[in-house]
């Protein structure tokens, strides 16, 4: 019996069209638009201005608080302007626009492919360097990594868990990273273990990736304290709470963070970025993006520089299909529908999913038949039908009582509902309102 998390979950069709496609580096774009808000926390402050010459890897915006991140230039060239542009959020937000000239990298970056296994940095140095390199969670949440690695006083950490699960359908970037950069990920894991001062690391991988499980297990045997945990395919296993439950059977109490149960979770892509930052002095400015969809002619995994316009990736995947109805940034369960193909790739862009017209719209809305399927699939043990109704009727105290803030917005409820009810839409509305009420109460 394969391990998995204990409550709920669904199994959407996997559709991993780009599985096995080797990571392909895209040609450098002629112009990049680098948003200053690509992470959870305060937007960064630009440290360059119009007309400045920049090199690849040069700091162009600095972290503006503890929960914030540095941003580095993905190309060499001249800063064209700093302006508000349409980005993946659907709104116009500030970005640093650079016109590319050549591909000149910062001299400190080690561009060779050799595996550097010697680790000389101390725990504090690693955490500091991770912060300096602008590393954020590459699973899509973009939480600043150095904050996660800074264990608050009073809490202890005894295990590092890596997310190699990639539970969203269609996406295959992490799968390819594990197959092609397994050794680097292992060294990255060791770096994280030193940073957190733990002796145990578990890499969770779903068993629809048997080659990754085998490859990583073979590699792990060469390193101390790292084990691979194969997991039963179930969405949303990649969610921190669910992953920790699945790997070590500990459930984070309501309202708390993983450190409460002694664990820290990082995505395998983030781990690779940590390796590159510490061992190669390379800050975060590019990432692997899966471009896929039923009608996409060349579904692929591209290595793209942050700030590259979406249409360049779509063209490299065979162009925008005729029957396109929806373009999603991320996976189909939690990704965001985009409004244009001109928006730039950011640190959090795990994938671009192009959906054909026929499946771009929702089914016909029917009344709730109280089948309780939403309750049985909720991974947090909530009652989506109830949370949705009280949010619709603005009964905020009831919503808070029923733990609406525990919702991880995975979408399993809306996915399952036979009546096509927009459960998550109302729950998100409720969460926003209840969160506001809770914050004003604490003032």
């Amino acid at each position: 019996m394969l391990k998995t998390f204990s409550l709920g979950g669904v199994h959407p069709a996997e559709n991993k069209f780009s599985a096995g496609k080797k990571i392909e580096a895209l040609p450098i774009p002629e112009q990049v638009s680098v948003p200053i808000a690509q992470h959870i926390g305060a937007p960064s402050e630009p440290v360059v201005s119009k007309g400045d010459e920049v090199k690849v890897g040069q700091l162009i915006a600095k972290s503006s608080g503890f929960v914030s991140a540095n941003i580095h230039s993905p190309v060499s060239g001249k800063v064209f302007k700093i302006d508000d542009i349409l980005d993946t959020s659907g709104y116009k937000r500030k970005a640093i626009i650079i016109k590319t000239d050549g591909d000149v990298w910062d001299e400190n970056i080690d561009r060779s492919d050799d595996l550097v296994t010697d680790i000389t940095a101390s725990s504090e140095e690693i955490v500091k360097k991770v912060g300096e390199a602008g590393i954020v969670g590459l699973g899509g949440a973009t939480f600043p990594a150095h904050v996660k690695l800074s264990v608050p006083p009073g809490k202890t950490c005894d295990v590092l868990i890596l997310n190699g699960v990639e539970c969203e359908p269609y996406l295959t970037a992490d799968h390819q990273l594990m197959m092609e950069k397994g050794d680097e990920i292992m060294v990255g894991t060791q770096l994280l273990m030193i940073a957190l001062k733990v002796e145990k690391a578990i890499i969770g991988i779903e068993n629809n990736k048997p080659d990754a499980i085998k490859h990583m297990t073979d590699l792990a045997s060469k390193y101390q304290g790292i084990t691979i945990q194969p997991l039963k395919v179930q969405y949303p296993q990649g969610g921190e709470k669910q992953l920790i439950d699945a790997c070590i059977s500990r459930q984070i109490p309501s309202g708390k963070l993983p450190i409460e149960v002694g664990a820290v979770v990082q995505n395998v892509g983030t781990t690779l970025a940590v390796y590159e930052a510490i061992q190669k002095n390379k800050p975060l400015f590019e990432r692997v993006v899966t471009v896929t969809g039923k009608s996409v002619s060349n579904p692929s995994n591209f290595l793209a520089r942050v700030g590259t316009p979406l249409n360049q990736l779509i063209d490299a995947a065979g162009g925008l299909p005729e029957d396109t109805g929806k373009i999603i940034g991320g996976g189909p369960m939690m990704g965001k529908a985009l409004t244009s193909t001109e928006v730039p790739i950011t640190k959090g862009s795990s994938g671009i999913l192009i959906m054909p017209e026929e499946i771009a719209k929702r089914g016909k809305l029917e009344p709730c038949i109280r089948c309780s399927k939403c309750v049985s699939v909720c991974p947090m043990g909530l009652s989506p039908y109830l949370l949705s109704t009280v949010s619709d009727k603005a009964i905020w105290d009831r919503a808070e009582e029923e733990k609406i803030m525990d919702c991880i917005e995975c979408g399993s409820c809306s996915f399952t509902c036979p009546a096509n009810r927009p459960l998550l839409d109302y729950i998100r509305l409720g969460k926003g309102k209840v969160g506001q009420i809770m914050r004003s109460r604490n003032k």
Binding site: M334, L338, K361, C371, S372, P379, Y385, P422
Partner: protein, 334 residues
């Protein structure tokens, strides 16, 4: 470029629908329907057809003329109510009585509360109990199995195992003597007994249960809770006094217990939303059924038990919540 749809996540759907679930239950009822055709022949056909058609007609008519809104008869729920109502009737019930039953089931049991999703009581049972109380004679004349295949209103009738047991015990006869008078356990399992059109064949109903479990239409909690409770309660009674109280197998295989536990108590709208709540619901149904059967005036108690527990569902849903993530706290920092 085409217009892009921009809607909130999730952007995919399981493909499940109300229709799929309703028709799934109807398919699960087909083995029991086949059994009813075998035992009760023409009568079963007439009763089933009449009930289904009149239920669908009344839902359509009420929605079109009284409520003036779009019809929902295509979702299969009215047809399902009709089929379940038919399975709860004797196969020689006159057509006009069936039609009245359908009107009550759909009109009062379902539409008066606001249609599908709003009915607190199982509509088919509302119809059935109304008929039982209004037409007690016609609703308790049970055609004999097999011999009534080619008959409808003139079908030969006889007592059901439940009524034999009930009256016999009231007359002071012992359980073992009475068990000899009724069909064997084997025959009871396959349905060779008098009873409602759809309730007789436990084997066929169980096949339907397995189908629904595999198709994830229902979960095991309610049927297991109802049947388990009935088995345990009657088992205890039987152990205490074997000649006064019939044993679990008898009670599970006679009357409407199988049909009730598998198809009636599991009605989505009138049953609880959390697994724990479903078990409490099922236990309540089991206890009330046995109390009515053993200590009450009626030989059969399942319909009343389910309707009574339906009334408790809002209370159950309010206080019995699903198991929450993080309730059992195992921490390194606690």
């Amino acid at each position: 470029m085409n217009m892009l749809t921009v809607s909130p996540s999730p952007h995919v759907h399981s493909g499940d629908s109300v229709k799929k679930n309703m028709y799934g239950v109807i398919i699960a009822l087909l083995p029991a329907f086949a059994a009813s055709l075998y035992y009760f022949g023409i009568g079963a056909v007439i009763v089933s057809l009449t009930a289904v058609l009149s239920c669908v007609f009344f839902e359509w008519a009420i929605q079109k003329f009284l409520l003036k809104k779009e019809t929902s008869i295509m979702d299969g729920s009215a047809a399902l109510t009709g089929l379940l109502l038919a399975f709860n009737m004797p196969s020689n019930l006159p057509i006009w009585i069936i039609i009245i039953g359908s009107l009550v089931a759909i009109g009062i049991g379902k539409m008066s509360f606001g249609g599908l999703g709003n009915n607190p009581f199982n509509p088919a049972l509302v119809g059935r109990v109304f008929l039982l109380i209004s037409f007690p004679v016609q609703m308790t004349l049970w055609p004999k199995p097999i011999v009534s295949q080619m008959h409808y209103l003139d079908a030969e009738t006889g007592a059901t195992p439940l009524s034999v047991m009930k009256e016999g015990l009231a007359n002071g006869e012992t359980v073992s003597a009475l068990m000899d008078k009724i069909p064997s356990i084997n025959e009871l399992f396959f349905g060779a007994m008098g009873g409602s059109a759809g309730e007789v064949a436990a084997a066929a109903l169980l096949v339907g249960l397995i189908f629904m479990l595999l198709k994830k239409i229902i979960t095991w909690h309610i049927p297991v809770a109802v049947l388990g409770t009935i088995a345990v309660f009657t088992g205890i009674l039987n152990l205490v006094s074997p000649e006064l109280y019939a044993g679990p197998l008898f009670h599970l295989l006679t009357g409407g217990v199988m049909l009730g536990a598998i198809f009636m108590a599991t009605d989505y709208v009138s049953s609880p939303m959390a697994n724990k709540g479903m078990i409490i619901f099922g236990i309540g149904i089991g206890i009330i059924t046995v109390v009515i059967r053993v200590f009450g005036a009626y030989p059969e108690g399942v319909s009343f038990a389910i309707l009574i527990m339906n009334g408790f569902v809002p209370l159950i849903d309010k206080y019995v919540k699903p198991k929450r993530f993080g309730e059992v706290v195992k921490t390194a920092n606690a």
